[in-house]
Symmetry: none
Subunit: 414 residues, 2 copies
Amino acid sequence: MIKAEIISIGSEILRGQITDTNANFIAKKLVELGIDLEHISAVSDNPESLLSTLKLALQRSDLIITTGGLGPTEDDITYQTIAQTLNLKLKKYPEAEKNLKRILKKINKTISPSNLKQIYLPEGVKIIINQHGTAPAMILEKDNKIVCSFPGVPHEMKNLIEENLIPYLKEKFPPSIIKKSKILKITGLGESSVNELIRDYINKQTNFSFGIYANPEDIQVQVTTQAPTEKEVEKLLQSSVNQLTKILDNYVYGSNEETIEEVVGNLLKTKKLKIAVAESCTGGMMGEMITRIPGSSEYFQGGVISYNVRVKENLLKVPSEVIKKYGEVSRQVAKLMAEGAQRCCHSDIGISITGIAGPGGATKKKKVGLVYMALADGKKTINQKHQLFGNRQLIRLRSARRALNMLRIYLTEK
Amino acid sequence: MIKAEIISIGSEILRGQITDTNANFIAKKLVELGIDLEHISAVSDNPESLLSTLKLALQRSDLIITTGGLGPTEDDITYQTIAQTLNLKLKKYPEAEKNLKRILKKINKTISPSNLKQIYLPEGVKIIINQHGTAPAMILEKDNKIVCSFPGVPHEMKNLIEENLIPYLKEKFPPSIIKKSKILKITGLGESSVNELIRDYINKQTNFSFGIYANPEDIQVQVTTQAPTEKEVEKLLQSSVNQLTKILDNYVYGSNEETIEEVVGNLLKTKKLKIAVAESCTGGMMGEMITRIPGSSEYFQGGVISYNVRVKENLLKVPSEVIKKYGEVSRQVAKLMAEGAQRCCHSDIGISITGIAGPGGATKKKKVGLVYMALADGKKTINQKHQLFGNRQLIRLRSARRALNMLRIYLTEK
């Protein structure tokens, strides 16, 4: 199995001026091709650093993909340094010169001496003409190693890799074995609880590898496996996913790229139900999440952001006596908020959130992170109380997600 | 001068599941400290890869900062591997145990065997207790090298680095020359317009370097300069910022870490004014942004998410004839929404947004990206019409930011 390595070249990455998002794009592509990526490095435009990084990469990897350092300025040194590392000469490529002239003409610029630099590449490469910019890319095979270079400008890099590198790699390394992953998305459980629950199962498996990742929003379990055919991989993956879903039960809300708002939206569409929200500490976050989904107008009526007590009273019709007696952050008020939203927005379901997101607002009995939520469907009202952890924004995010998850469970059980 | 290196640990980076944004944060901090960063590497959770990466880093760098791999699961191997690389034993740290118990108690969980792993660190380290999570961080000095490890969870890593690593490095390596940057945040102008406006000024400067960066939300102009003392740097920076602010006028809404919702919040507090929102296509996004600011209850009353036409009619009292005549996305409806929000939430100001975020919903006359917004103060109502660019989420984000900027300009001119 070949080992791949990505090198991102550019002092702007090391100075913190830009985040290297190119490596992430390429990493995803390599996963799809079943190619193992063991290293990602970022180096400055310093020739010595680049030289030593390239030498090391040639020792430990078979396929080296560089991005950046192909521009017209002095500090763009990728091709010179690759030539030096591999003992190759630089050569002028006429097809690159032609493209350079075409592009400069398009933007009404004449060729400058610094531009000319961009048409010299190491000898013997497969040159890749860049339709969207002046820097050509290349693929170079030497001594059983492959070195390829792409521009650092994300959209140029992406186009050139999609159209040239991917087909090249597919042909060069027809996957003898197909490797695929599936991600299970979990909410309402912490990383260590997920780990405890599935550890026994994981330890018994030999055909799969597993990863558990904690995000601010959820926990993800990734299952990876391989087999000679697509069909077998899918079958294997599905069997493991089914097992895991059985163990993790209703904590699993979706898979792969699915989001909780998407899952909830699909359930509402299928069941032809409409919802409305009443949000205090989240200030509109749940509504914002729901409306990220195109077509959410089919099931989302709207709602009330009842940040101030008067809005709770006037729009949601929560009686001021109840608020005085139990406080704005209470089970009773959450219940009446949900019922109020359901009524005033003419929806089937109303969901509410009221809590203390902090840093201020806590009392002796009610701590930062205390959140009440409720779901009213016109017949009954469900309540939840949570003591959440994190800073203000995380408590808000977790509240909105918990409330959407309460809705999801209500809809799946209904 | 010492050489620094960042190692980001986690298979999720190499599998393309997440973009490594931690390295960017640390790189920025090192620039501020005048410390040279030559390498950033990302490695998988594979023990051999991590071991060889650490060994190489110890050869070529003086200061090694790792993030990630400190969690409770089997594939979190940072501390074991650092101990192995440096021939150190792992030791139980009671202060880490105490913090672990405190955090688990807070979220009503008992200690599990996998959690216990997190309290073993290499012997002889300066342990850093993590107030926001179960993984402790550390700084380790050995043989003239410094190795420090921080969690991969961004907000935990940021807090721990700000509060512990930065002060430590400042004391250990007092900078001989001080280099600082300031960022001006601009909204309502494109990157090339900003460039045109300030180009003449920039070209005349010799003591400063400038960068113009385009984000989905705004344009940022970064000014960088250096001098032997903090005071001189500040003075130089301020003079340039003043010049730029003069040129860019009311398009500048803030500087450095300031956000538009923070700037608007401060203006509302100073002027003792209360606002309410009425949101259609943004679905609660503007309310969510406003309530990110702790203490926003002082000036934010709440509002109505009027996604469905019935919510516009019932809660905001927009007459159905007006909606029928002009359509939900119209200047007239935006005006009545803002006035409705101001009235029904008992606020001084009401702001509204109604638009077509897409991909569906466009008509021959009203294209995706058409957004109307209004601001009502009980006496007069201001209107704006925008034709915005981007996908659904970008159009929504830009709408919310434009509306907040309309409020900002209203408040500064008032």
